[in-house]
Symmetry: C2
Subunit: 310 residues, 2 copies
């Protein structure tokens, strides 16, 4: 593959930026990768593992002469970073981000982008529960979606270039408007995360009652929740604070349905439970058919145990 | 390994019984495995894949001369099966079950077990979202827990034999009383399943609004829920109907905490969210340290994608 951006600046060096660095190298689409992070510790680690071609101390320094600038910090930190880099952006450069919420980022970053610089918000729908500069890997975006959320007046050329870049990193690209993005993600990601955090919190309270049994006997259901609830607290705090409306809307619907099922349990209405549990199977089928998850039982965990045992 | 029970009868031939059949053969602990299931179709499939040494048409027939009888049907079907087999059980035989709820099974099955037959309820904490006679595999119980719930007056010899049997199938065995079992499982399995079903149900409602986007963009969080919510509707209806009190108790706590977090989102209390999300990480760590789950990012899904890509 040939170079798409001569110089790419990564602001923030966590799971997503790190994976982008690995994937850019695999694809050969960046001439030169410059990175920076808030803490000296993260910058030192990135240096040590050779995550980028060059690590610099400030975001302002990083964006100098960059053709693509990627904001890969928590959503709540985007405004301050944008304000810092605004005056140093090269005319004709593209600024994008990878934040999990889009309307808030458009509002926080947009005002700091000078005329002559393209601002194209984005969100790769790929992640793990790990974070930090060592968590990234080149395959993270393979066959995953990356949603681009162009603001009014985005130049087609700049948009197509960014699309080609993400495709080279392994992703499939789709466009969406910010409000719609935030609603869809509230359903597929944000509310499920809040629910998982809550359920694990409840178990933690009960741990004092049931000792460590909750951990010991965590198979089936609960341990899947604990994986989700092990995600970075800062990232998720920012997601809920900045995607408040859509999250509260979906939470409202969730609570309504939960109460209906709770009532069915209380009154012993087996038919209602059975019908509800039958309806939800079709969605799983759809996800597997769409290639968005494995059909291996228990995500293939059983399989890998078998291999270990064998 | 040497034979522990000369003849084992499996009543019900789904995921759990099927996995037991495979694991019994791997360990060589059963002289002879006889199986039966409600439908002719399941019996024919079991016959075709050679799941047991012999498939018979009725439970009464299956238990004749069996040293161990395993009830592996949904919890709500246990009473009728116990009533059917009661008169046909061999003196000195052991009857156990694998139901996900224990207090209700003790009450439903106990009265049908004649004097001279050992009744030792059990529950292997292992499963996948798949079901039926083709879903089983020998490794399902490896390094998983099997909880035995002996009723009053259980003979030590019979109990130790059943413990040895489950250990030969790969499991670690622990004893628990029925009420405590049902509470712990309400936390680690039953309530998480209800919540997952609910969240997927909400997404299904919204699907009419957001088209198939919920499926398409299901990465991160939601698709884990869909796996849980793809589990067998009959099994789960019965679990909630028979473990009503503990489930409603945990659901009540869950709703309280969810409302507190919802309020924190509404009022923008980032500190409360951050603290809550930090606390829950420790539990994940505990589960991984206890060997109950993989530490591979995203359950190793990313890894298997990488291997496929590579
Ligand atoms: N993880 C996912 O599953 C996922 C998926 C899609 C999108 N995203 C989005 O991607 C972005 C980055 O997430 P990540 O998972 O890569 O996070 P991460 O691994 O935790 O890394 C975050 C990076 O941002 C820096 N940072 C944190 N707070 C900052 C602040 N106040 N000012 C400046 N820099 C700050 C950190 O610097 P230090 O290391 O020096 O603290 C670190 O380099 C977030 O907006 C998130 O919403 C995440
Ligand atoms: N799946 C799990 O994750 C898991 C884990 C631990 C314990 N358990 C417990 O294990 C038991 C079996 O679960 P499974 O996953 O093996 O289920 P499964 O794969 O769905 O198999 C259930 C078996 O029970 C039979 N059956 C269903 N309804 C019946 C009825 N009314 N009367 C007589 N037989 C009936 C079925 O017969 P047909 O095939 O002929 O319909 C089938 O052979 C349940 O009590 C469940 O709570 C399940």
């Amino acid at each position: 593959m040939s170079v798409i951006y001569d110089r790419v600046a990564l602001i923030g060096l966590g799971l997503i930026a790190g994976s982008m660095a690995h994937a850019m190298r695999r694809a050969g689409v960046a001439g030169d990768i410059v990175g920076t992070a808030r803490s000296a510790e993260t910058r030192a680690t990135a240096q040590e593992i050779g995550l980028c071609d060059r690590i610099v101390a400030t975001a302002a320094e990083a964006v100098a002469d960059a053709d693509l600038v990627v904001l890969a910090v928590p959503v709540g930190a985007m405004a301050a970073v944008a304000e810092e880099i605004g005056p140093h952006l090269k005319p004709g450069a593209t600024v994008t981000d990878v934040g999990s919420v889009k309307k808030a980022v458009v509002e926080a970053v947009g005002p700091h982008i000078p005329a002559g610089v393209h601002f194209i918000p984005g969100h790769p729908l790929a992640g793990t529960e790990h974070s930090g500069p060592r968590a990234g890997f080149a395959e993270l975006f393979d066959n995953r979606w990356c949603l681009l959320v162009p603001v009014e007046g985005t130049e087609t050329g700049a948009l197509e270039r960014l699309r080609g870049f993400w495709e080279a990193l392994g992703a499939q690209v789709e466009q969406m408007d910010p409000e719609h993005h935030d609603l869809v993600l509230a359903v597929t990601s944000h509310t499920p995360h809040l629910i998982a955090y809550t359920m694990v919190g409840v178990a933690d309270d009960l741990r004092r009652v049931t000792d460590s049994e909750v951990i010991k006997f965590s198979a089936a259901g609960f341990r899947d929740f604990t994986r989700i609830a092990a995600s970075d607290p800062t990232m998720w705090r920012d997601v809920f604070l900045t995607n408040k409306d859509a999250t509260l809307e979906i939470l409202g619907r969730f609570t309504e349905e939960l109460f209906a099922l709770q009532r069915a349990i209380r009154t012993g209405d087996g038919d209602q439970l059975f019908d509800y549990f039958t309806r939800t199977r079709a969605i799983r089928r759809g996800i597997i058919d769409a290639g968005q998850d494995t059909d291996a039982p228990d995500f293939g965990r059983g399989l890998s145990r078998a291999q270990k045992a064998g």
